[in-house]
Each structure stands twice: as C-alpha cells, then as structure tokens.
Symmetry: C2
Subunit: 211 residues, 2 copies
DNA sequence: GTCTATAGCCGGATAGAC
DNA sequence: GTCTATCCGGCTATAGAC
C-alpha cells in the first residue's frame, strides 16, 4: 500500500475539511491535525492558505473540464456541418462530473460539494471559479447556440445558468446533515442522469418567452 | 429621517458583510466597525455571533415564505377539487423571491445571495436552512405532486431540487465581481420570470425517465 | 523536508462602570 | 443600553535547529 506523500495528504484532508466546514471556517491547524503532519509543512508545500485553496480546487476541476472539452470536440468533429444534438451536448457537460461523483466517491465526494460553494461565494473565490470555468462555459455556450438557433442569446445564457444550478444541486446532494423535508432517493449515476437530462432537455427546448 | 436603532443597524451591516465576504470570514469586529457601534452591543442584542446569523436570515426569509404559503393557500382554495395549474404553482414559489430581489433591491440585495450560500453550506448553517424552508418545501411538493400525478415521487423531488437550483442561480446573479464569460442580460423581474418559468414548466412536464 | 518554538495579530466573549 | 478594558484562545506565518 503506497503511502501518500505529505503534499497529497494535505490536499486530501483540506478538501475534506473545506467541504465539511467551509473554507473560511477551516484553519490550517485543523488540517495539519487531521493529516498528522507539521504546521509548517503547509507553508513549505504551498506557501499560504490561499495557494492551498487554489490547488485543492484546480487538482480536481481541471481533469473534469478537460474531459468535457474532449467530449465536446468529439461531438463537433463527428457532426462536422450539422450542429450536435442538444441532449448530447448536455450530457457531455453534465456526465463527467456526475460519473466522477458517484463512481469515484472516495476521490470526488468532497470537491463536488465545494464547487457549488465556489459558485455562491461573493469574495475572492469567485475569481478562481471564473479562471477554472471560463473556457468550458464559452465553448459550450457557443455549441448550444448552434444547436438551438431559435433561442436568443440572453435566453440561452439563463438556461445555461439554470443547468449549472441543477448540477450544483446534484453535486451538493445529499446534504451533510440530511435535509428532513425530502427522502433521499437513488444515488447511482444512471438514475441521476436519467432524472436531470430529460429535465434539462425539455427546459432548453422550451418555447421562447414572448417578450 | 428615522434613524435605525442599533439592533436593526447591526442586522443590516451583518447581512451586507456576510454576503460580501462570507459568514465565517466576517468578524464581529468588522460588523461593529462598519455599524459604528460598540463591540459589546452585539452580545447585548443577540447573545452570540451564531444567534446574530440566525436572525439575519430569519428576518428576511420568513416574510417571503409566508407570502409563498399565502399564494399557495389561494391557489388551493380557488381550485378546490381540481389541482392547481403547474405554472401557477411554480410562479407562487418563484415570484415572491424574484420580485423582492429586484423591486426592493436595497432591502433584499444581500440576503438573496446569502440564501444560496446557506444551501451549499456543509456545516451547522444547513440546519438553519432546513428550519426555515421545511414547511414551504413540504407544502409545495405535495401540491406539485397533485398537479403532476404521473411523475413519481423521486422524480418530483429531483425536479423540485432543480427548481431550487435555478432560483439560487438567479438569486446570486449578478456575481459580485461579474463573471467574464457571460454578458449580463436583463435584470427586471418580468424578464427573469419570463426566462425561468417556461424553462421550469417544461422541465417539470418532461416525460418520465424510463428506468 | 520536517520539526519546535514563537512572534504578532485577531477572534468571540464577558465583567463591570456609567 | 452603551461603553471600556480585558481575558484567553486560535489564527497565519516565519525563524531556525536538525
């Protein structure tokens, strides 16, 4: 059994604690206690708490976004002239995150909660969110526009945001202390995809508002 | 010009700073500095930081949820035997929050960002979220079920969560430091409702997944 | 690369005068 | 109800031995 090095252990523990307690509420001391390493090692490996936070996110998000772009590339290649199908686009965006969440729970169970936290953050974390997602958002918005030419740019923008909202709700499910007013339902990726994809396809295809 | 009392001033400033910097990152000292009151006054009026946080949320959320329930009551009365229309139900849920956000921006501009923060919180704040929303969620889920008898309970639950996700995205719009990859579009409540309602109606009515 | 020790600051909370 | 003064613990960061 390979022992993770200190740097990896720090990232793992930080990720877990950030997801459980929030970033601001997690101190470096909390992290080094649970990782069973020395306080100074965080500064040695990352330089500061802020740099640690950035690395916690980047380590997980970059591969997921790379997969999204790769799938988008494939869709755009194979279609060539005709625009990719809406459902395939949505799936290319949603599925990499969902599959990771449920199929590699040990690796991903914390970070996906954290991303929705990033989104609603009002502070400096927001900038990090933009850095990490700008390319994916731009490319997918353009592809969606080609598949839905009758939807105005403003509408498409909102529908894309609503899609993000649905994804964040999935990502932060189940709540750490489970919400009482709902029954926790199926948690395998297939069921969840089967729930969210038809919902989003119907939403994207909804008739335009007559503004 | 009526001067707000200390208690109100504290709630206002706390709300603003929580939304801007996050709750964990906002200290009581930040708050009393901007409110220009004494440090001890927070403990005098609220007892602790945690109690202040609870009150910041409750003050804003309770009236919105009361309005939602009132509108739901009316829909259920007037329909009597037949179930209320789906679009009306969605509107009764979404509209009170949206209208407040855009029509009373001074009063509501901070708290609505905060609520989406509550939702993605993994810690004790989650409990507060449940306390504040349990009744509304239960009542609306039941009403939606009656209007959509062919949708299974599990599906309805997810679609309800997706609706919350869309609402949170609206609430946290625009991001404090605006995201670069999107153009900020229309910000009046009518346009936004005209975007979100058709999206959600279509999503709720989407054909069931063939699991 | 890892550790101890500590600097120096900021946090929430409270006692007690007014 | 408001204020000052203060307790005491936790925080990030760094210096310097090994």
């Amino acid at each position: 059994m390979e022992q993770p090095d200190t740097r990896t252990k720090l990232l793992d523990v930080a990720e877990k604690l950030f997801a459980e307690k929030g970033i601001g509420a997690t101190s470096l001391r909390n992290i080094i206690a649970e990782a069973d390493v020395n306080l100074a090692s965080i500064h040695y490996h990352f330089g500061s708490k802020e740099a640690l936070v950035r690395e916690v996110f980047a380590r997980r998000i970059k591969p997921v976004n790379a997969e999204r772009l790769q799938r988008l590339d494939k869709l755009e290649e194979s279609g060539e002239q005709s625009a990719p199908e809406l459902e395939e686009l949505i799936r290319a965006f949603i599925e990499p995150a969902i599959r990771l969440k449920f199929e590699e729970p040990e690796r991903m169970k914390f970070i996906l909660r954290l991303i929705s936290l990033l989104q609603s953050d009002g502070g400096e974390l927001r900038e990090l969110f933009t850095d990490l997602f700008e390319e994916v958002a731009t490319r997918f918005l353009a592809a969606l526009q080609k598949s839905l030419p009758h939807v105005s740019q403003a509408e498409l923008f909102w529908r894309f945001k609503f899609m993000l909202g649905s994804m964040f709700m999935i990502m932060s499910h189940p709540p750490v202390h489970d919400v009482k007013f709902i029954e926790t339902s199926e948690l395998d990726p297939e069921s969840i995809l089967a729930q969210v994809i038809p919902f989003l396809v119907a939403g994207f295809e909804a008739p335009a508002a007559e503004n």
